[in-house]
Symmetry: C2
Subunit: 419 residues, 2 copies
């Protein structure tokens, strides 16, 4: 069934970028080469760009070991990403025919897609269509998302680096708060990404240690957010200390299901998947606190900084992303299709991780949330079990390659124009 | 005139914290010890806390070389800071009598104050009062501010680390913007600190290099901000590229002198010096752009992250801060008073820096702005001269001491309670 002679591979990146998604790309490329594939194509802006005929020969981009190392240290999606959802096969079979014709023309054996929930839907549909039509192209997904919300995998590449940045930055914010005394106290509200899953927001607790008490309260999107109880909680904290730092998920909702940021919003963009751009949660809460309590407040959104901070990447994360890219390529090479590579934790201490492949039908469109028992009973912090789970994923550093005092990223002349 | 036998030193931190202010504290301590002073006291929350009798013996905090190294890597003001302006001597001489009585009781020979413009005013007034009363206590200022707006000094410790963080983060934000295509283009507006001086905002251009075009436009507070021209500029940029990143100072004002953030503000705190809390400039501009152009927008405030990011500190900056602390102590030891240490650039390439002492009367309350000729004629970028000036200040890294994946800061049990 497999081709005797190996032909070509195509790889794409999809969904929100991370600090580790390019390390997976480097891993896919390396393993494809090691396993004897001729060409490794990269889709520009994922499946969406590919359908417009946009792709590159990756050998022009990863020309040597230094390029590969720079790629691992380059944030965002090197090839460009997309948020495109394929229609159901029965809705537009012509589109599928077109895609497969293009793949056949490029003599593709393996199609690797690096992405999150929405991206695994693409792998599912394309591999389904391959079965229906008897195509021998293998479609394998490589997990990626800072949100850490993919089902069946212990965690996702990209999460560890974002968690490390959040733990580091929140610790610096907390320390900054010690500096100035304010008459009625001051409250910093830090807004962290993660619409439905609180993995990143909970990771702010990584700042806690012998030299830092960590945030004073943490609110995850898994539990309904009670605005009045929040104000009371902060009042109580201010009675004890003059500088309070609270971390909240961008996606916290009231009991009625209304996003807190919608209580005071100025921006109502909706992305291609119908997701509203969430922003302004911290600002709304700060405005409320200064009104209700009269304290000084400051809203800090970690915004895209938290997903792009390659300069603060976790070594474990970057290396795992590379391995998982290689594992996806290996799986496709060995005949798997309609599968995603998942990470399986073999041990917490010492931390050991292995990979497996799972049926993508069991993964796509399914979100993994922080379990209730990893959130404290009063819903304002994460437990030690949560920390024990995350801590190994932020270990070690990836020294940036500094040029003139600033981290260098992989860049090939003329490439930006392709994006 | 000088005491034959050296007695004690007191040091305080004042104004907004930085990533380097503690390195200066370490430098003061080390030089005071090396020069034979008995005790080195630290004021808790600067002169304001000291007047309440709050101070510590620093030898309990810097007990060995490792403590000193951790202190250099600890953001925010270790001793706590204040924004307190002393009254004029004739307005409240009793207060001055009280302060000098306290200093005499502690057998202080040298009073070192690490701070910015407002803090040098304290040095000026106390040294004036010493002259008036014949006190032999020497008062010397040690410059500190991320804003880089102190007169007579080539630059200020704290600026280099903030500039490095800004260059690094803006580069990551720009790269992040390459990732996703948006139908009508996307604009990120990054809001950077610096009320009147654009040194930090201009430093976003450090992101420019062989692998990055830098921000698409930069607006400093030195020039009036024309809202309509800004919208036209962005329109023009979006006609050429789909992802636009613009950096603006928090302090940009219209021709009429109105802060842009006041065109849409939700918060009107005023600090002890009558400075309004500036925030919301980027948000206002994003809201305007999405209304006028229909593009996707994202506002990012670097907020306190930019002044607290020890994890991304400049080695040149941290070492210079240490040296300048030592130089302030040396000056006081050798009899200077009413002086501030300034930095004098001996050479750009190779970069060489020396210190001098200058009369604090020439410095206090005087702001050094970005010269007009270092801003492009159309007012939307900084020139190469600006970059040549800043580049040496961001060189080299200070590896954080990582514990459990997160940078360790100096912390002594029970100390936080003193703040």
């Amino acid at each position: 069934m497999l081709h005797k002679e190996k032909r070509n591979v195509i790889v794409g990146q999809s969904g929100g970028p991370t600090a580790a998604i390019n390390s997976s790309l480097a891993g896919v490329y390396r393993t494809a080469r090691d396993r004897g594939y001729k060409k490794v194509y990269g889709m520009i802006h994922g499946i969406q760009g590919f359908m417009e005929g946009r792709y590159v020969d990756l050998s022009e981009h990863i020309t040597n070991g230094l390029d590969s190392e720079l790629l691992k240290r380059t944030p965002s999606a090197y090839l460009g990403s997309c948020r495109y959802k394929l229609p159901e096969i029965h809705e537009d079979e012509e589109l599928y025919k077109k895609i497969f014709k293009m793949l056949d023309d490029l003599e593709i054996d393996c199609f690797i897609y690096i992405g999150g929930n929405d991206s695994m839907d693409t792998i599912k549909k394309l591999s389904d269509y391959a079965i229906v039509t008897g195509s021998e192209i293998r479609f394998v997904g490589c997990p990626k998302t800072i949100d850490n919300d993919l089902a069946l995998t212990d965690h996702t590449p990209g999460f560890g680096s974002a968690a490390k940045y959040i733990g580091t930055s929140v610790k610096e914010i907390i320390r900054d708060g010690w500096s100035l005394e304010t008459e009625h106290g001051q409250v910093v509200v830090v807004e962290i990404m993660g619409r439905n899953a609180g993995w990143l927001t909970g990771s702010s607790a990584l700042s806690k240690g012998e030299d830092c008490d960590g945030p004073d309260a943490i609110y995850l999107p898994e539990l309904p957010f009670d605005v009045d109880a929040f104000v009371e909680k902060v009042k109580g904290l201010l009675a004890e200390k003059s500088s309070v730092v609270v971390c909240v998920s961008e996606g916290i909702r009231t009991e009625e299901g209304k996003y807190v940021c919608e209580l005071d919003n100025y921006n109502d963009y909706v992305d291609a998947f119908g997701h509203k751009q969430l922003t302004g949660t911290a600002r709304y809460l700060c405005s409320l606190l200064s009104k209700e309590i009269g304290c000084k407040t400051r809203a800090i959104e970690l915004s895209t900084l938290q997903r792009a901070a390659s300069h603060c990447a976790s070594r474990v994360d970057i290396l795992e992303a590379y391995e998982v890219g290689g594992a996806a390529m290996k799986a496709a090479d060995e005949g798997d299709s309609g599968k995603m590579v998942v990470m399986k934790r073999l041990s917490d201490d010492p931390y050991q991780m292995g990979t497996e492949v799972k049926d993508v039908h069991k993964i796509a469109n399914d979100e993994r949330l922080v379990p209730r028992e990893w959130i404290t009973e009063d819903g304002t912090y994460v437990t030690n079990e949560f920390i024990t789970y995350v801590r190994p994923l932020i270990q070690g550093d990836v020294a940036p390659v500094m040029v003139d005092g600033i981290p260098r990223h992989l860049y090939k002349p003329g490439f930006q124009e392709l994006l």
